[in-house]
Subunit: 274 residues, 2 copies
């Protein structure tokens, strides 16, 4: 389980999710990150083989990572526990699991410093803490918040530590993790298409999007509000699907796009391909 | 890890949750059961120490139960995998974890038969399957659906298998599991109170209830719509809290009731104690 010198991803397709935080275990927060990541990894061709939820405790977190590695995970994504407070212990837990020290990472420190300087604030011990990564780890830029994520490559797995705040987690997955997994992960093919819907506000389209997504395991739909056209709300709907061949991916994206289009039109939207 | 001959609950306070189902891992379903059970167990005085999510696979399910037992769980509650279809494998997985056979349970068979007879339907092999429990297990009545739950006592833990459908899971928890844990679980004290709110529909009260619940780890609020009073919707709001003394529980229930009352009144409801 030492730090790997290999490049790219391990060959396996098994992914594990580790959710960190007392708030999940006491039921204060519903773990929507888990479902979001499960869907995205499935579309990327991974088989999500298991999930572990642990409290903000270094030993429990270390156990979670060791357990996922021991069960053969090729990719592990954790959410939560990356912030500046005393109970953010994910980096320390992973370091313990790997038997490596936590080390101040200069690149991570630069990221953290820039965030706070831009807000007219300086570094404090709590803020510097966010730049301490397991030895060998690389910081992942956080385009939304302050805490960098962490990427660690071990001999047989890639591990990504992401924050628990959904908007930060999603942005870091989409800008950093997903491109990496698309390039080096399971050999699957992707297809995509974009629909333009006019006349339905995003809040009314949301349940229809969820319904269309339930029709497929291998498709993901993202909606982007684009203002209004002649006073009617305009939505851009970006549909991605994957498959084991280009044709399969194309067929899946067309199937989901057709279903979504019909659902939107039933509610009075005018829909066209982008 | 053999079947225990003891009565009542093990002395520990550690609880584990096991969520079973491919739909959770591929992100088709958000695991609301986990948060619901986490809150309820916390109010009952348990420390929810961990959670495991596994696919519909006998070996993975068996691993999940063995892992929770190995980590010292006193109470384990699983959700999912109890239905009649081939991919409902929770009872088989638990039997495998405990090293006991699956046995047709006469009481469970009676429960299943009655459900189907009432609907004018007979027993099929798929339906009989729901009455096969790990040896030593007891069926838990399902007041909402057809699949019985399962209770298994092992030497150091109580294990409850509940269905994945939230309405069934919640009903079985409240009618069977909770009374048992209140009686034999951690020594905590409970206090409760009931508010009557007039003028707000349940859908508008729901986010206020969620907000009040976030103020406390040890309180649970249940709303019961009771029709209308002079055309204005009437809600009964039942608040339960626990504490390590009667006074602590009372203070907590009063604190949460006060907060909830203020939130409801801000939105125009007339609120009184029941």
């Amino acid at each position: 389980m030492g730090m790997g010198g290999t490049t790219g991803l391990a060959a396996g397709r098994d992914a594990w999710l580790i959710s960190i935080g007392n708030e999940l275990l006491i039921g204060r927060v519903v773990n929507t990150n888990f479902a979001w990541l499960g869907r995205r990894l499935t579309v990327l061709g991974y088989k999500v083989r298991g999930g572990i939820v642990v409290p903000d405790d270094v030993d429990d977190i270390a156990w979670g990572f060791r357990t996922a590695l021991g069960r053969g995970a090729s990719v592990i994504i954790s959410t939560g526990g990356l912030g500046p407070t005393f109970d953010d212990k994910t980096a320390e837990g992973l370091a313990k699991a790997l038997g490596v020290p936590l080390i101040l990472n200069e690149e991570a420190l630069r990221m953290v410093r820039e965030k706070y300087e831009r807000a007219g604030m300086g570094l404090t011990e709590a803020r510097v803490k966010m730049a301490r990564l397991p030895e060998g780890g690389k910081p992942i830029p956080n385009p939304v918040g302050t805490a960098p994520g962490v990427e660690v490559e071990v001999s047989d797995a890639l591990i990504f530590l992401l924050p628990g705040v959904p908007s930060e987690m999603q942005a870091m997955f989409e800008t950093y993790v997903e491109p990496k997994l698309r390039e080096g992960g399971p050999k699957v093919f992707f297809a995509e298409t974009t629909l333009i819907s006019v006349g339905l506000p995003e809040s009314e389209a949301a349940p229809l999007i969820a319904k269309a997504m339930k029709m497929s395991e291998r498709a993901y739909i993202k909606s982007h509000p684009k203002g209004a056209e002649l006073g009617r709300p305009l939505l851009e709907l970006h549909i991605t699907a994957s498959g084991s061949s280009k044709d399969e991916a194309l067929a899946e994206v067309e199937r989901v796009a057709k279903a979504l289009r019909e659902l939107l039109e039933e509610k009075g939207a005018a829909v066209k391909k982008s």
